[in-house]
Amino acid sequence: MAQSTLTDTGETLTRPDGLPGIVADWSSDQRAFKNVPWGKAMMWIFLLSDTFIFSCFLLSYMTVRMSTTEPWPDSSAIFALHIGGQDVPLILIAIMTFVLISSSGTMVLAVNYGYRNVRKWCAFWLLMTALGGATFVGMQAFEWTKLIVEEGIRPWGNPFGAAQFGSTFFMITGFHGTHVSIGVIFLIAIARKVWRGDFDQRRPGFFTSRKSNYEAVEIMGLYWHFVDLVWVFIFALFYLW
């Protein structure tokens, strides 16, 4: 590939701190994100667009909930589980939250071991993260089954009150669950590469043909933490509100 000649001026460009530094980076007529690998910048921009998608879902949920004249179903009771002879409110959702946070924790361990070139532990923690994600999706499938079969909640109506409860619930948690499922597949793919030693040998990427390295694990981590991040908002605004 032809590359334009780079002129080495022999001096490091100084960068001012704070706001002038941002202006300098963005106006320098080169790359705005210096020192940031392109893959990471692209992942962040994708996550930004995904943020807007989830924002729109949560916003439409807010709008329909505020504008309905019927009472909103009591999510605390609907998501309760019958354990040991009494109803524990929201317990399944709480467990799902802890599972997802734990998988975020194992993800940072994977990134950490990756950058320290400890191949096996990196792959192990990636697989543990995938396991956490799969557990989460499994529990969500259980939750959906219970809601649809036992409680009779449908996207167009339910026995507890406002019909919008079902439509927003299935839309938001369904979209989030899809993200988790894709993340699990993504995690397994990266874990396979790590295990095979791709990043130690700097084996070229399948799509990019560029030399790969452990940054791929960090970029994967960004996606995974984002999925956890979205759940924080869903848990607070949908389940707890």
């Binding site: 807007f52 505020m66 504008s67």
Partner: protein, 119 residues
């Protein structure tokens, strides 16, 4: 942060080599996420109501989101040009929230007039 970044800039390596931080930082944040999650669950468990409930939910939510983005996603150590490019646009969503609050109030108001009272 600016100082740490300047340091990395001088050494020129820290960022190129990737985000390497002591594992203890992550474990500490991990623990805090558990505590904060337990806190937000407790809000529901003890059945707090009204403004206290909503305030606590939002505080726990923002603290958790902040810790995840800052430490787990390494925003604390990224260059400001990237941090601002990613974190400023979502703030504008708040304007959208405000607009939809007015819209929802208006819809609720008209529904009250035309559907509930008149039926």
């Amino acid at each position: 942060m600016a100082q740490a970044e300047g340091q990395a800039h001088v050494e020129g390596k820290a960022h190129v080599e990737g985000q390497q931080h002591p594992i203890g930082v992550y474990l500490k944040i991990w623990g805090w996420l558990f505590v904060l999650s337990a806190g937000s669950y407790a809000v529901d468990y003890f059945g707090l109501e009204g403004y206290l409930r909503w305030t606590l939910i939002l505080v726990f939510m923002m603290l958790k989101a902040g810790l995840i983005v800052a430490v787990f996603m390494h925003m604390l150590w990224e260059r400001l040009a990237l941090v601002y490019a990613i974190l400023v646009p979502p703030v504008l969503v708040l304007v959208f929230v405000l607009l939809m609050t007015f819209e929802a109030d208006y819809t609720f108001f008209t529904r009250g007039i035309f559907f509930v009272a008149g039926s």
